[in-house]
Amino acid sequence: MTDILRNNWFVVLIAIIIIGFIGYFIYDTNKDNVSAKSSNNEQVVASIDKDDITANDLYDESAPYDGSTIYNMYKNAVIDQSIETTKDIKKQANTLESNIKSNASKQSDDYESTLTSELAKYGYSSFEQLNDYCITSVKEKEMNKKYITKHFDEVKKAWEEKSPRTVSIIKMEVSDADNLTETETKKKNNIDKALEKESFADVAKAFSEDSNTANKKGFAGYVDSNSTSSDSSSTSTVPADVVTAAINLKKGETSDWVTVTNSSGTSLYRVYVKETDSNKIFNAKNDTVSNQALYAILNSDSSLSYKILDSYAKKLDIKFNDKDTKKKFDNYVKTTYGGDQ
């Protein structure tokens, strides 16, 4: 034995180093791994002396309140089987996934853990399913658009009550709206005079001080009466007072000057209503406008999202295997969408 070790000392040394390295690797990989435990044939999630919290305890405790989880599982299955996954949908989903990751990484270093918890609420059990979530989200938009296009005359009524329209704006920053300086007065008069002779788009391009819209000939996109409320989901950058002025105008009309004072200072606005035809707005070539219109239509009728899902679900064989699951699903739909099952 001694002779063998003496003759092969280098091999033995290397073997000891490798075994030591592997030993440390195994320790390091396993040190945060938990050990399994069972109690009365049930798997244990956590334990303290004299008591175990089993997986079944956890399920029994949380399942009565998981209507939204059941609904999301149901919704995902209906959408995935109703809308084909095209190349375009995949492309949009990839963009959405990148945006979500980029935004989440700005919020927290440990964003994967946060996103994993959020994804579970939407019916996806791991971070690796983020792309599946994105595909289903894009498909859902597609499904909603298809349904609304087909039933437009029926669903547009509630939406039209919100006075949907697209608008353009001219913005002019001032130091004091009641006491304009000579330069400010001159600029304001120039804008007024120009509007008498030229189109609103040309004047906005030439004079507007709004950096978001000036290079788009003043086009500020979609607004409706919901855009004036502070909790509006609208992404419009048009101030509430300017929206209110726009709501009171007809297509092709321009408002008088509207004064807006906020944390960034005082500004004067004139707003022009470009389009009020709901059909044209919903089918606008501008994706931002058509998407805003789509969400505004869905928001105008609290039961519409479910009605759309249900219309597609009816084409599939659906079976609830236990009464509790059906009851939780029905309660969730009733509470959230006001629908009766």
């Binding site: 919290i53 059941i70 299955a77």
Partner: protein, 299 residues
């Protein structure tokens, strides 16, 4: 020398580096609904619940298990919970439908699952101040004192002399304290949670061997002010101030956390599910009391 056995040993050791245990429910394969060609099982539902809210719920169930050991449900608690229910009913006409919309089947269930555990939690926190007396003392260094906040060191020097001469602290305060002083010679509970006085003063009051005037002028330069303080220790005997310490600190989040950690240690809390462990490791490593290294590495 044959190298095959060594390679086999290495391969076996590498393979032993596997993932941790994951607990699941008994009837995980039982179908709950079938939508077209997709069948969901109880196991699918459980996995989602565990990932979204499972860790919080596990900790809630662990707390309830600790309450069972430490705080018995008394008739007084039941009466208090019933009073709360009666109050809710008096103030909200649709109270019953509201709790049903939250998933509770009855007011009794709401009482047992929400109100009574909440009363037990308060009771446990109060018990913590007695059970973990040494931890509380070492961490919060409680004492009761009369402190006088003066404009500067010169005024504080005069105040200290008056106190040493035996003048009543409130009388000294009326003469030497700064206008609208936070500390005006009245009895005040002092702990490390007070951020407007110096750590040195807190330590001096806590460590003083007997009650009386502390022969020192204190400043708190880290707060960016030039105020100077003098102090008279009333008592730093824990049993005399325990109730006040509880009333003052019980709503503090750090104290609530320390209380839970204390009882988790006492009952040897352990996690046997990797998802729950990973979540706690990321968000509350201090709860993983069997792995104190994780909380330290986060600090």
């Amino acid at each position: 020398m044959k190298k095959t056995p060594i390679l086999l040993v290495c391969a076996a050791m590498m393979l032993s580096a596997c993932s941790g245990a994951t607990a699941t429910i008994k009837d995980k394969d039982e179908a709950i609904m079938t939508i077209g060609n997709t069948t969901y099982t109880k196991g699918d539902e459980y996995d989602l619940l565990k990932i979204s809210t499972g860790t919080d719920l596990t900790m809630e169930l662990v707390k309830q298990a600790i309450y069972k050991q430490e705080v018995k449900v008394t008739d007084e608690m039941k009466e208090k919970a019933q009073e709360q229910i009666d109050n809710y009913k008096g103030n909200m006409s649709d109270f019953e439908s509201q709790i049903k919309s939250l998933g509770y089947t009855s007011t009794k269930q709401y009482m047992n699952k929400v109100l009574i555990p909440s009363l037990q939690a308060s009771e446990l926190t109060e018990k913590y101040f007695a059970d973990a007396k040494k931890d509380v003392q070492n961490t919060y260094k409680p004492s009761k004192a009369r402190i006088i906040q003066c404009e500067n060191k010169a005024t504080a020097k005069k105040a200290l002399k008056a106190l040493k001469d035996g003048t009543d602290p409130e009388e000294v305060a009326s003469q030497y304290m700064v206008d609208s002083a936070t500390y005006s010679g009245k009895e005040t509970l002092i702990t490390t949670k007070k951020t407007d006085i110096s750590t040195r003063m807190i330590n001096k009051l806590y460590k003083a061997k007997k009650a009386g005037v502390i022969d020192e002028i204190f400043t708190n330069e880290s707060s960016g002010t030039t105020y100077a303080y003098v102090a008279v220790l009333v008592t730093n005997t824990y049993k005399d101030i325990k109730d006040e310490v509880y009333t003052t600190l019980s709503s503090d989040d750090d104290v609530k956390k320390a209380c839970l950690v204390y009882y988790l240690k006492k009952y040897n809390f352990e996690v046997h599910d990797q998802d729950v462990f990973d979540n706690l490791k990321a968000n509350n490593p201090e709860y993983l009391v069997s792995r104190p290294d994780l909380a330290k590495s986060k600090d």
